[in-house]
Each structure stands twice: as structure tokens, then as C-alpha cells.
């Protein structure tokens, strides 16, 4: 194990019907007027918008709507939100949605609280000093953004998809109401599973050598829970127990508790994925279903013991030889992702051989920015992509 500090003050309110307490939770922080950020129309169709806004009104909290967040949320929409919040003098921000909506709210929070262009923080040109209080009502479990300080935004023109991770961006309160996730369609349920798994698997596979049974056990438990929950949801989308389990597992997958103490680790599957969703606007979790097994196959040559550990503990592989177990584990994992309805090839995402050079260039750029590792050269990135065709 390695040195670490961990502090995560997010208040989680979890349970069916919990969205009715949104107003109460915000009022406890003295919120008077909030910018309510959301995505497409789904929260208006499934009743979530009504319940949340009724709850706000009951607590005497005004709200201004800022809808229209897309998956792979755009910087231009962040700018528009900052302008609206300024003009309307809101004193807090409320995300009602999935990871894209929460990421947008975090970006607006940074833009409101700090001078200058908010994009500077994503380009690592400056470090933010302040943030506006933010709250979340989660409607799609996947990103883990509801219990961490991370945000990912895509630049409209350059299509760069960049991140800020800062403790200032912890939500004050995150409301996790599994009942609202029953309407998440089956494709997005699958992409969510792929996304949440990747958040745990990357530190599990790339962590330094050493004795980390707590962290390994945590990761294995979370991934198995996501897989079992997804299988139950596919059998019965209204299975509230499985929806609840999926929701909490996705949160625990990316609150950075499970990776605390494992030492340096990197995010190769994300480094390979961001160019896909950034350039081709596919769902992030769908892209990760392609890049995870693709990257693992490459990783297997470098650290067969870690991939084999994954294969045995999570995919139930029994082979004693690490390389053999690893190959089998990756195959089973890819088949599992395909079985729940994820694309597992670039082709299935509408991406071809001709696109690889630009993707590889993007990925190398990201690898430098995120410290993914100097071993990930343009040749390596291209080779991994080609193996995913």
C-alpha cells in the first residue's frame, strides 16, 4: 500500500421517493434560488421534474431552468449556463440528470466562482480557487460524478474532452432515488454498467505491485455487483432492488475510496475512449465497452498477473496460467458486454480504419495530459484501436 489522503464530505440521500426531499436538503444550506440544470425532456416526461420542482417550491426555493445538456456535454452550453446564473443571481446549482448534467453543473460552478475562461481549468492552465455550492439529483447511475470532485467537458470546436478533478467540486448533497432509474432504457443501462465497471477496473489493473487485499476486494465486489444487477435489470427493467444495487455500486465505483492506497494508477481505457465519444459523439459507456477489452488484451502482455486476477476473481476463470486465464477472462468480459447490448467493436460504433490516425493522435495528447504513461505511444494507441476494429 501507498500513502494517501482521503476526504469525501458528500451527503448521500438514498432511497425510493427520496427526490421529494430535494427542497428540504437545499433549504438546509440556506439556498434561495437555484439554477436547475437538466438534459433532454425525459425528466419532464417521467415526472421527476414535477416532483423536484414541487419540493423546491414547498421549501420556498426559486428555480431557473437550464435544460438541454447533451451526452458528452459541451462547453458552449456551460458558458450559456454561467451567463444565465449570473443574470438570474442564483445562489446554488442543482443538477437533475446523469453524469453529463452533473459535469455541466460543476463546470458552471467553476465558471461562476472564478474569473477568466472556465476552459482554462480543463486545459490545466490554472487551478480553481472557489466553487459555487452544487447539489445533484441522479437519474442515470454510471459516471460516479455525484460523489466525487470530477467533471468532464467537451470543447465544441476542437472536440477535446477534458477533465478537472478538484475537492471544491464535491456536491453538498446527492440524492440517489433508484425508482427514477426504472425508466432508463436498456441500451443506456448497458452503457452505464460498462462505464461504472471501467472506473473500478482501471485502478485494479494498473495499480503498482503490492499487497492490497482491501482495495482488490472492494473492486471485485463492486464489479460483481454491477454485473449481477445489470443481469437482473435486463430480465426485469422494473426490478427496483437491482436498480438500487446498480445505482449504489456505480457511485462506489468512482468515489475514489476503493483506489485509495493502491499507489499510482492510470486510466488507459478512458484515454482511448475519450477520442471516440469526443469525435463521434457515441455514448461514453458504449465507447468504453470497445476500449476496455481492447486495452486489456494489450495490458495482458505487460502485466499478465493483474489481468489474470481480474479473470479469476470477476469472470470466474479457473486456469492456473496467467496468460491463458487472462485471454479467457478478456473473452468472457467482451462477451458479457456484448450480451448486455454494448457495441464491442469500433465498426459497431461507425468508426473505421481510416479514423484511427486522428483517434490515436487525440489519445496520445490525452495520455500526456493525464499521465497515462509514456508506453502509450501513437503506435501503441493505433495498434490497440486496430485490434478493436
Amino acid at each position: 500500500m501507498f500513502e494517501f489522503t482521503y476526504q469525501n464530505p458528500v451527503k448521500i440521500c438514498f432511497g425510493n421517493g427520496m427526490i421529494g426531499k430535494t427542497g428540504e436538503e437545499l433549504a438546509a444550506f440556506g439556498v434561495k434560488k437555484v439554477l436547475l440544470v437538466y438534459g433532454r425532456n425525459s425528466i419532464k416526461l417521467n415526472g421527476v421534474f414535477d416532483i423536484v420542482t414541487t419540493s423546491l417550491k414547498k421549501s420556498g426555493i426559486e428555480f431557473v431552468e437550464h435544460g438541454g445538456v447533451q451526452s458528452n456535454p459541451l462547453l458552449s452550453h456551460v458558458y450559456a449556463g454561467i451567463e444565465k446564473a449570473c443574470a438570474e443571481k442564483t445562489d446554488a446549482l442543482l443538477a437533475v440528470g446523469g453524469g453529463s448534467v452533473i459535469d455541466t453543473v460543476k463546470a458552471i460552478s467553476l465558471g461562476l466562482a472564478n474569473d477568466g475562461d472556465v476552459w482554462d481549468f480543463y486545459c490545466s492552465k490554472r487551478i480553481p480557487e472557489k466553487a459555487i455550492p452544487l447539489f445533484t439529483v441522479l437519474t442515470i447511475p454510471a459516471a460516479g460524478s455525484e460523489m466525487n470532485g470530477g467533471t468532464v467537458i467537451t470543447h465544441d470546436e476542437t472536440r477535446e474532452k477534458l477533465a478537472v478533478v478538484n475537492p471544491l467540486l464535491y456536491p453538498k448533497v446527492s440524492i440517489l432515488d433508484p425508482a427514477v432509474t426504472v425508466s432508463v432504457p436498456m441500451d443506456y443501462t448497458a452503457y452505464s454498467a460498462s462505464d461504472a465497471i471501467s472506473h473500478t477496473i482501471e485502478s485494479y489493473l494498473t495499480r503498482a505491485d503490492g499487497f492490497c487485499p482491501v482495495q482488490d476486494g472492494y473492486a471485485e465486489g463492486v464489479v460483481r455487483a454491477i454485473m449481477r444487477s445489470t443481469e437482473r435489470i435486463r430480465a426485469n427493467p422494473a426490478d427496483l432492488e437491482a436498480r438500487a444495487s446498480m445505482m449504489w455500486a456505480a457511485t462506489l465505483a468512482w468515489n475514489f475510496l476503493g483506489s485509495s492506497g493502491v499507489g499510482p494508477w492510470t486510466t488507459p481505457a478512458h484515454t482511448l475512449e475519450h477520442p471516440l465519444s469526443g469525435r463521434f459523439n457515441i455514448a461514453h459507456g458504449a465507447g468504453l465497452a470497445v476500449t476496455q477489452p481492447g486495452w486489456m488484451a494489450w495490458e495482458l502482455k505487460r502485466r499478465p498477473e493483474r489481468v489474470a486476477a481480474f479473470a479469476r476473481a470477476i469472470m470466474g476463470v479457473v486456469e492456473a496460467d496467467d496468460a491463458v486465464a487472462g485471454v479467457k477472462g478478456i473473452e468472457l468480459f467482451r462477451a458479457w458486454l456484448a450480451g448486455i447490448g454494448c457495441p464491442v467493436t469500433l465498426k459497431a460504433c461507425g468508426i473505421g480504419e481510416a479514423d484511427i490516425p486522428i483517434l490515436a493522435a487525440d489519445a496520445v495528447h490525452l495520455a500526456k495530459l493525464w499521465g497515462t504513461g509514456s508506453e502509450y505511444t501513437e503506435d501503441v494507441m493505433s495498434a490497440i484501436y486496430r485490434a478493436c476494429i
Copy 2:
């Protein structure tokens, strides 16, 4: 899964040599003068006292010593600490020790901040409204008190061993330095393992029926990590990786994250143990090594499926029949506890048949106070104790 709220703002600073940053961490909270609470002389013999106080001085923080905390910490010593802190006008509290020292600091914090007798809070007569900021430097991993809001104090005369759990009592910062635990002797290392395991196993076994793969996986991972770490420490007490893993696992065992969402659960092993350590002043973890398998054998008749889950996931039992698997799992668990040097019978703790009536009466009293369950009558308590003779 069930409704829950979770918020745990404790800042964890984990790593070898981390105790040298104690002053820095306290200074960040504006602390000027601190009551430094500790146990026997061990922190003066192993150098921890010197490093911590040098660090405080370097940060310009004065300190007043309040040593002499015993295991099963006493109310009289809490009163003395409150008086000293009042007289010396300290503005914060620093525990340097294990669970008993931290529990004492939490009690002093409550006594200083609130009017009236601090014991009232332990008797559930009143609920505290305030607390004085407290910090911990953990030297014995076991109790989990460093990352939760719980405290357990024993009344000098009545020998009642009672608890307060309140978010006010979260430490501001807990410093976890595995290197300082290398000097924990083998018997206390074993008791610590027994204690930490119990914190996870109680919710695992008593939780309501339902689909909780995240929580089950978390508990199984933590317990397996404690077992593997303890085995490595026994083979080599200076194994820093194992000491580190043990330390972090014990913290995660009792920060209430793993049990969040499992619904109502109870603490029968603790309810049966507190009378043992309260009356006979044995180590809490040693008492739990007796009561855990003893209680499990009784629980097996009520909920064989949960005990069998424990037997299979943690003790590696493969039997398909729940009752058979349960019996085997309990046997293996008791043998494991004995193997690491824990007493596993009342006799080994110097407790005999004649003591059972008073123990059972104490346990029933506690069961009422803690809501352990009306099924735990005096007859049941006696029967479990008798089976532990």
C-alpha cells in the same frame, strides 16, 4: 436495499511517517492548544510521543498531557480530562492511541461542549448538541473509531459499558501511520483482527433479506483482507505492507459505508461481549473472539442462509446445504481465531458457569438499550454463554 443517508467528512491521512504531519494538520484548523490524550507509556517508549509533540511544537501548537487511558476506558478518567481541558483552556483534543483513547477523547469533547453530566448521553437520557473539534493519531487498528462518530465508555462503579453514536463526533482529521503499528504485540494484533471482523460480520449476518451484492462484497473483501493481513503479520510482525492493509481494513470495517443500505441490522456479538469486558476487564477483541462464533451458532438456527453465505464467501466452505456449510464455517472461523492467539472460550477468559447469570442480565439490559432484538431473552443469552464455556 433500503433507504439510507451517508456522510462521512473525516479526513484520512494514511502512510508511513504520516505522524510527523500532525502539527500541520491541526494548524490548518487554527488549533493553538490541545489536550493530548493517550494510554499507557507505550507511545513514549516507541517514539510516537516525541514525533507527534515535535510536530505540534513546530506548528506552534501547545499541548497538555492527559495520559493513562485504560482499555475499556473509564468514565472517571473522562471526567478528569474534562476538568484538565477546562482548566488549561485547550481549544481542541488530540487522541494518540487506539480505540479506547479515541473513545475517551470523544467523551471529553462531549463533556466540554455540553452542560450537565456527560454520562447522560451514554445512558441515552439526552442527545448532545455540540462537540469540541477532535483529531486522532491511530496506533492500534481495530475499533474503527478514527472514521466514525461512535464512542464507548465504561462506568467505574456500575461497570456498564455504553455507547454514543453521533455525527458531531467525527474526527476532523485521522492520521493513520502503519509504521507505528509494528510494535503492537501479537496478542493485541489478534484481538484487533477479531474486533475489526466483528464490525463487518454483524451487519452481514443480521441484515434484512434482500439483494445487496455491493454490501456483501464490501464486507467479504474487508474480512478476507483482515484475515490475510493478520496471517502475514504473524509470520513477520515487521511486515509493513500487512500492517498497512490491516490498518486500512479495520477503518473501512466500521465507517458504516459497507452497511449503508442493508436496512436494519443489529450487534449481537457486541451485546454479548460488552458484559465480558465490562465486568472482567478482558480485551474487547478477545471477548469478541468468544462471542462471535458462539452467537453465530445460535444465529445459524434462525438464518442458516446468511451464516452459510459467510462460510462460503469467507471461510471457503463448499458444502451446498446451508446448515452443514454454516456449522463448518463457524468451526473454521473459531479455529482461525484460536490459531492467531485469541481465547475462544469463556474459560480461557477466566469466566465460569457461575458468572453467567450476571452476564446474561447485563446482556439483556444492553440488548434493550441497543435494540438488539426481543428474541435475545435472558434464557437465550444464558444459552449462548453456556455454549461458549
